[in-house]
């Protein structure tokens, strides 16, 4: 199975690579659209700034290609900023368009709590998310962000609360996104990634 990690300069690529390597899964780095050809799954990891990410993806010619792969149903996992990139716009960079898979807007979390929302938090499941199969409901995941989506056109399968309720996990067919960092979330995160690999290998058959 060919798993492509989108490389765009910034980001936490090595820790995502290591997390998949621990599961016995090999990954390749994809910095241009050609590298996505034939990929059975695509991971868009992310830390940093929404505008910087979108401009960087644009300069690498990746935007149309990523949209195409998602539309074609190639299993996709957006992590943190990589989830936010799926939306149309973000308050963090109002002039930069996101991938626009979801028409909603990413907004700043309310300043009523300390920001960034940094540390381990629990999820509230809206349905029975595939990515959380075998993971106990009380399990914690590691978050580090100040912006989040509050709606995802019905694709939100788990939420979290920090000042406001936001989309922590979204799933629509083979398209997945997590606002937290599974690669930094210990055993629970590893289980989630292995659930994603299972989804990807089913899709590849």
């Amino acid at each position: 199975m060919k798993i492509a990690l989108v490389e765009y300069g910034a980001g936490n690529l090595p820790s995502v690579e290591r997390a998949f390597a621990r599961l016995g899964a090999e990954t390749i780095r994809a910095a241009d659209p050609e590298k996505l050809t034939g990929a059975d799954a695509i991971i868009l990891p992310g830390v940093g700034h929404f505008g910087a990410l979108m401009r960087q993806l644009d300069s690498q010619g990746m935007i149309a290609s990523l949209r195409g792969k998602i539309a074609a149903g190639i299993p996709f996992l957006g992590i943190c900023l990589g989830l936010q990139a799926l939306f149309a716009t973000s308050e963090e960079a109002p002039d930069d368009a996101g991938l626009g898979v979801f028409p909603n807007r990413v907004a700043a979390l309310p300043a009523t709590e300390k920001l960034p929302h940094m540390g381990w938090n629990q999820l509230q499941r809206a349905r029975a998310p595939h990515l959380l199969e075998g993971i106990s409901p009380g399990e914690y995941f590691y978050f580090a962000h100040s912006f989040a989506a509050t709606e995802a056109s019905g694709a939100s399968t788990a939420t979290c609360v920090h000042g406001a309720r936001f989309v922590a996990l979204l799933e629509r067919g083979n398209l997945c996104g997590v606002q937290f960092h599974p690669e930094k979330s210990g055993g629970a995160g590893a289980k989630l990634l292995s659930n994603f690999l299972r989804l990807a290998s089913r899709a590849a058959q």
């Binding site: 910034a10 936490n12 090595p14 820790s15 290591r18 997390a19 621990r22 830390v47 940093g48 700034h49 300043a111 709590e113 300390k114 920001l115 960034p116 929302h117 940094m118 540390g119 381990w120 938090n121 629990q122 999820l123 509230q124 106990s136 009380g138 399990e139 914690y140 590691y142 978050f143 580090a144 962000h145 100040s146 979290c160 609360v161 920090h162 960092h181 690669e183 930094k184 979330s185 210990g186 055993g187 995160g189 590893a190």
Partner: protein
């Protein structure tokens, strides 16, 4: 559903080995950083900090290699720092596998560094480390590993550092560091109350009760300790259970 308070073990290194000292002096060897990291990752630490307290230019490549070795052992977040003078230093630390970088002396000398780091790495990756010592009715910030007083009020500096772009404060009480006499809750609360970002309390940890107090009275978002973990005086599971039983939100290890 509440954000859990974090328990963070800290590895003070001379670049390659973990060292221990009292109030920044009398250092002795306390083991291999990657070995300790693997153990803490397994035992339920919420995050790990690794610092180069020698922070000499010559040792830089050694410390970056240490970060790589430590990061390879972790499925939890890693913070690294010590001797970060410019943007390039921070970049090298993050590229080596850290998720966040601490900056101390250089930020006091040139606060714009915090803004530049936040712009490139995101605020969530920029931790302002402050070493504070009681000075009459306030606390003074020290630099160069606790060597030099700055004349800056630590609480005022924390606030400015956040305005400049720091996404978290690592606050060390020099009065308590290495003394095992409990965290400085007064200092921690004073900073926690005026900044909008999480505060990691450091210096003085000994008993589970110390942790309880720094979360309750000190209003800390995270608590950091070194020797009590290295010496096996305190295990993560028992400590977290103690705190969870007393109403502190904890990621209890399962």
């Amino acid at each position: 559903m509440t954000l859990a308070r974090r328990i963070i073990p800290c590895l003070d290194t001379d670049g390659s080995r973990v060292v221990k000292g009292v109030q920044f002096i009398h250092l002795r060897d306390a083991g291999d950083p990657a070995d300790l990291a693997a153990r803490y990752n397994q035992e339920g630490a919420d995050e790990l900090v690794v610092l180069d307290i020698a922070a000499s230019r010559d040792h830089r490549p050694t410390f970056l290699e240490t970060i790589r070795r430590v990061a390879a052992e972790l499925a939890i977040p890693l913070t690294a720092g010590g001797g970060v003078r410019k943007l390039d230093d921070g970049r090298a630390i993050l590229r080596a596998g850290a998720d966040k970088v601490t900056v101390n002396t250089a930020a006091i000398h040139r606060p714009e560094l915090l803004t530049e780091m936040a712009a490139e790495f995101g605020s969530q990756a920029v931790i302002l480390a402050i070493d504070a010592r009681r000075a009459g009715d306030h606390w003074e910030a020290y630099v160069r590993g606790g060597h030099d007083p700055t004349g800056l009020d630590a609480v005022v500096w924390a606030k400015e550092g956040v305005a400049r772009g720091a996404g978290e404060i690592l606050l060390t009480s020099m009065d308590r560091d290495g003394t095992r006499s409990g965290f400085d809750c007064e200092l921690t609360a004073a900073v926690s109350d005026v900044v909008s970002v999480p505060v990691i309390a450091s210096g003085g940890a000994d008993t589970p009760q110390d942790f309880l107090e720094v979360f309750e009275k000190g209003r800390a978002d995270a608590a950091l300790a070194a020797s009590i973990f290295h010496d096996n005086l305190q295990g993560f599971a028992a400590l977290k259970r103690y705190l969870a039983d007393r109403g502190v939100p904890m990621r209890v290890w399962t």
